[in-house]
């Protein structure tokens, strides 16, 4: 079971985040100030840290992050912020953050992103062939086969499938898809992403015999990891 630390100054928000993460199966500790967060992070080993960008007192989120990294604590850090400007995001990631989520956010979005961060920690490096169930993707030749049958994909569909396959068995939100596959940081146009996924579904499985991509109600999608 993963242990997570949530550093958030608003007690109610912290409690809600902690409850949502606990429901998701994580063990959660909370800290209200940057100082307390640093002490806890140094005293125990956490698998990931959820860090508020704006913290009271002299030490804000980026300060905590810099101190953590300087102390050699390299647990993945997800930054929460009310500031959505692109340069804020860039600054957060440059300071050593691994992901950035703008408030207000959906708890499903938060847990999905944390799953990805935690998985990334343990993922084997650099394969040239991705496999999920009957699906096989050759990264070198950029070809996809489903149950031995070649599937012809547009470049964007290929990237969409690659992202889903890299996170097979995990919930992937529409926002994550939009950010990773289209590479723009804006409010995602929800319906359209669904339509792209539907098209991809039809191409992978024209007769509906083996539905690979499952819709997770209210959250996003999940590619079945095994046949």
């Amino acid at each position: 079971m993963y242990r997570l630390l949530v550093v958030e100054d608003d007690r109610q928000t912290a409690a809600e985040i902690a409850a949502a993460l606990a429901d998701h199966g994580f063990t959660v500790d909370t800290a209200e100030t940057g100082r307390e967060g640093l002490q806890k992070a140094a005293a125990e080993t956490y698998d990931a840290i959820v860090l508020d960008r704006m913290l009271p007192g002299g030490l804000d989120g980026l300060g905590v992050l810099a101190t953590l990294r300087a102390a050699g604590i390299d647990a993945p850090v997800l930054i929460l912020s009310a500031l959505s400007a692109v340069d804020e995001r860039v600054r957060g990631l440059r300071a050593g953050g691994d992901d950035y989520l703008t408030k207000p956010f959906d708890f499903l979005e938060l847990t999905a992103r944390l799953d990805v961060l935690l998985r990334r920690q343990s993922a084997p490096p650099r394969e040239t062939i991705l496999r999920a169930g009957k699906l096989e993707m050759d990264l070198a030749t950029r070809t996809v086969h489903h149950a031995g049958r070649a599937v012809d994909l547009l470049p964007r569909e290929y990237r969409l499938l690659e992202f889903l396959m890299r996170h097979a068995g995990q919930v992937v939100t529409r926002t994550m898809l939009f950010e990773e596959v289209w590479n723009y940081r804006t409010a995602e146009p929800t319906n359209v992403i669904d339509m792209h996924v539907s098209k991809l579904r039809r191409k992978l499985d024209p007769d509906g015999a083996d539905p690979m991509i499952r819709t997770v109600r209210g959250a996003g999608y999940m590619l079945r990891a095994a046949g």
Binding site: S84, A85, V86, D87, V90, P104, D106, L154, R156, W182, Y184, R185, T186, A187, P189, N191, V192, M195, H196, S198, K199, R217, G218
Partner: protein
């Protein structure tokens, strides 16, 4: 306005300073004039004295005595005294000067000098020139200075009276100017107090003189106008937010209450909760959209500007919306241009703007219609355009649709927050782009264009209406 405030006004102090400066200059000028005048008069007299001495020097002593006696008879006044006296100060002939022998023997030879003697109470000032003749006698030629002193006196009086008149006029002028400024500033102050008191429609008074104060007042009035407009916009937005959020919140509440009254099974509860979650998400989404528009309008995103190719952004957006067009039975065409359309900007915001326009166009274009998008750069302009074959936007609605929460008659019953075009307008303003809505006959053409493509470095083609040019190859968005 009080009299004691007058010396503190800027105009009065300025006038006073000028008066002091002018006074100092006048005094210096008068002094110079005085000095030059007296010098000139003295030099004239000295010339006359030397000339007289020279004439009399060649006259024989006996003849001289006779001439002096004749001079005394002819000119008994002391205006031009001529006196011959011996070395010990005894007068031989000529004018009687009330001077002692000691005084006479002390006079300097052959150089003009000034001397005074009293006859009664009246002092006589003379300028004289003495010359020792070969026989040892001394001839003194002199001239009364009274007439020239009179002239200098009149001159000095004129100076003083002129100075006093100037001072009086200057002070009066300064007071008038000061009072005028005080009166105008008091007017401005009263207006500002009314504005601070809450009357935002109040404007500062002008005097139609187009002077510096009027110019300042005009600028401030312009600022007040902008502030008033913004305040009204903020108020309008608040009203709209309240109105637009009341609807989903009412629906949410009604749903929850209905669930409370009627629901029996756990599945019903779960379904009701899911509905509530979706409803709440929509409300949050509306909030997020409002916040985004505010963020864009604050200009904070300008920090994230990079070199962006509008053609690429437009192509990406067209590709993203292709499935939606397909589902609606509308053709989505990407008009490709040969050169990139580079400008400084936030690619994500520009993408969102293009996306909003495409989504809107798809929403209103009937089945079998067509939506065309293109990014272009030519002749110092760079921009993008979305053209549809829908019902178009009425001319009188074209400004209104860009306002937050505005819903046109045709769109009142369609889905949407009424914030899409407001965000497009905010993105356009952030990038210094001009947003125009025109008729495409049939349909609507929305163009965002940035003039002065100086920093994009592109735009060698002649200007042309982008959508009507024939050099653009049309192709479906997702080939």
């Amino acid at each position: 306005m009080r009299l004691v405030d007058l010396p503190r006004t800027t105009s009065f102090q300025l006038a006073l300073r000028f008066l002091l400066l002018f006074g100092a200059a006048s005094i210096a000028l008068c002094g110079f004039l005085y000095w030059q005048t007296t010098y000139y008069i003295e030099a004239g007299i000295d010339d006359w004295l030397s000339h007289e001495q020279a004439v009399l020097a060649v006259v024989q002593s006996s003849t001289l005595v006779k001439r002096l006696e004749a001079h005394v008879v002819a000119d008994p006044t002391l205006e031009r005294p001529l006196t011959l006296f011996t070395a010990d100060g005894t007068r031989l002939a000529g004018t009687h000067l009330a001077m002692t022998a000691a005084e006479l023997t002390a006079v300097p030879m052959d150089s003009p000098f000034r001397f005074v003697f009293h006859q009664g109470a009246h002092p006589f000032v003379f300028r004289g020139l003495a010359h020792r003749r070969p026989d040892g006698d001394v001839l003194l030629v002199a001239r009364d200075m009274e007439p020239s002193h009179k002239f200098v006196e009149v001159l000095t009086h004129a100076f003083i009276i002129g100075g006093l008149a100037t001072t009086f006029l200057g002070l009066t002028g300064a007071a008038v100017v000061g009072f005028d400024a005080m009166r105008r500033l008091d007017g401005v102050t009263r207006s500002i107090q009314r504005i601070v008191g809450g009357d935002l429609s109040e404007r500062l008074p002008t005097h139609g003189r187009a002077d510096d104060l009027d110019r300042l007042v005009l600028v401030i009035n312009g600022m007040l106008g902008a502030l008033e407009r913004l305040m009204q916009e903020v108020k309008g937005v608040c009203d709209n937010v309240a109105h637009d959020l009341r609807t989903p919140l009412t629906r949410l509440l009604a749903g929850l209450e209905r669930t409370r009254r009627h629901t029996a099974t756990a599945e019903d509860y779960a379904a009701a909760i899911d509905d509530a979650i979706l409803e709440t998400r929509d409300v949050l989404k509306t909030f997020a959209a409002i916040l985004r528009i505010s963020e864009v309008e604050s200009g904070a995103r300008r920090a994230g500007f990079t070199d962006t190719d509008l053609c690429e952004v437009v192509a990406d957006a067209a590709e993203l919306f292709e499935p939606m067009a397909e589902a609606k039975g509308v053709r989505l065409l990407l008009a490709s241009s040969d050169s990139p359309a580079l400008m400084r900007g936030d690619p994500s915001l520009l993408f969102e703007a293009v996306g909003n326009l495409i989504e809107n166009a798809l929403k209103f274009t009937p089945q079998g219609g067509c939506v065309t998008v293109l990014g272009f750069a030519r002749a110092g302009t760079v921009g993008f355009e979305v053209v549809d074959t829908g019902p178009g936007i009425q001319a009188d609605e074209r400004d209104a649709v860009l306002r937050r929460f505005y819903r046109g008659e045709t769109s009142r019953h369609t889905e949407g927050s009424g914030l899409g075009l407001a965000l497009v307008a905010a993105v356009a303003r952030l990038h210094g782009m001009e947003l125009t809505i025109r008729d495409a006959l049939p349909g609507c053409r929305i163009t965002l264009v940035r003039h002065d493509g100086a920093d994009s470095g592109i735009g060698k083609q002649p200007p042309a209406d982008p959508a009507n040019s024939n050099d653009i190859a049309m192709k479906p968005a997702a080939e």
